[in-house]
Amino acid sequence: MKKSILCAVLALAAVGAFAQDVPALLKAADKYRMSSDNMQVDTQISVFNTDGSPDKERRYTVFAQARHQSLVLMQSPAEKGQKVLMLGDDFWLLMPGSQRPLRITPMQKLLGDASTGDIATMSWADDYTGTVIGEERCGEPEQACVHLSLAAARKGVTYQRIELWLGKAKHEPVRADLYVQSDKLAKQARFVMDKPAAPTTVTAMLLRDQLTNKKETQVRYLARKERTVPEAWLNPMFLARNPALE
């Protein structure tokens, strides 16, 4: 009896210790995707049908900057010239033919199998608050994980709630359940690390659509480098500038 009580107390103490450190846990997890506040990330999206056959492929260049600012340049032939600017909770789209930046709503940002939010948002620490649910086994192969439940701290984020599992030892992201505004499960994410035994960076994120078509989307991070873009690039009207941003 005394032993059981002691175990329970220790478990609660462990959860309590993690709870105090949720921001630190999220910051540690973010480092695996955003090693700096200002980054340029080249991303490839591959969508697969439920039978595993390839469905479509897209390439993006993302300038992810501090203070929730991201500029996404579409690079695939079908979308070449399209740009999306995300400044906190505000979003703009530029279609190449029109040369006219268009204000869009958060719902319009949620386009396609990998939404712009999936591509452009690479940090949780600034956007979510959370609690530690406890320790669980997760991942393939299975490992000890910390399960966190995150709630959006601002309205512009793509997902209102995230159930996130981090590796217990190194706090790398392992998997996540992503919920939209209506609290429906939209996507399930798995994170692929460069070196599973000693992870340093996320090389890919696998998203399984749970809302509509059950397709799987692979978000591969092809190249990352630290890059701070000029202030003017983050002005919505600057989107119409050509030659293309380099």
Partner: protein, 407 residues
Amino acid sequence: MKIIALSLAVLAAAAQAAPEFSGQVRPQWLAQQANDAGPLARAVALQPGIATLPRSYGAVETELRLSGHGLSFVGTEQQQRIEGDRLRSHGWVNEWYGATDAAGWQLSAGKRIVAWDVGYGFRPNDVVEQETRRTLLSVTPEGRPLLMAEHFDASTAWSFVLVNPTKPRDETGANEPALAARVYQRDGSIDWHGFARYGAHTGASIGAAMAWVASDAVELHGSLRLLARADTLASDTTGAALLRSNPWQAARTGGTGQALVGGTWTNEAQLSLLAEAWWDGTALSDAQWDDWATRNRGLAALVGTPAPTGAVAGNLAWQASAFNASTSLRRANLFARLSWQHDKWQPALDVLFTPADRGRVVTGSLGWQGDRVRLDAGLRLYGGPADAVLSQVPTRRIGYLAATWSF
């Protein structure tokens, strides 16, 4: 061929900077059914061949885009075969300009698309490009020759444009030489725009526009422009008198205004509804359309009288000039568009309605987007009561089919 030569010249100039190169090839077929009502149809019925009715055509358009080293080029080459005609080729430059930075300002010179304003169906403050709205297919417009200076900081942008600087002062519409300016201010969830334009012969106009994201799902926008004058066409002939020349001649309106309000709603499933209402004071007035209809009836009544058939047909054909008086046919307009983005499919249905005469244009479309290929098909129908202006335009139905291959 001219376009390809220009592309190569720009490519050579930009070669040192590893230029970006992209483009698309679009075969398309557009089937048009001419209207059997309206002044043009009556004119052709009386005297076949007196005017050209809308005809179907097939075309292949190749668009090339090159940029780098401060230069930018977009050109289009088109091979088109109109029903009953031979294959014709022609090309045009959509954009060709150089840009540089100096003392915190972005300067550009050349032919360029400068698109302003916030609406979808109508853009009163698109005072530089004056882009055609509600086209069946998404097309790259042809830019305007201009000199432009822009300044950007984090949330404000200033633009000054001298457009058509070398064109004659009496050019009309988007070809008129003019000085235009825009200031943009971002204020949280609201974008504010202020506009001013001074045309060589239309004089001053000022405008303002806003776009507000009111919630996660709703965006609202509005635009207002006040003009000293605007180019139009007008006729001072109201009766059924047979004339020797087209009574519809270039004219200028007095001071007037244009206004638009609208909004979009989009849900999680990417179902989107756009609704807009606009007032275009540069369009012909209800009284002018009444006079137009009276003259049409009067001319039609001359059929079977001793009046020369050719003269009656010619006068009826000239009445179709009224359709080109302004970008809007009627002053008051309502527009709604329902669209859905579902995986690779994009179905859409839209309706333009003119309350003054209950005329309407209904367009249904379906798009499919692959990795490199996009397919588009659709149908546009013009209709309403027999006396509605939209029931009397030269085209009754347009169907289209297009495949776009991007590279």
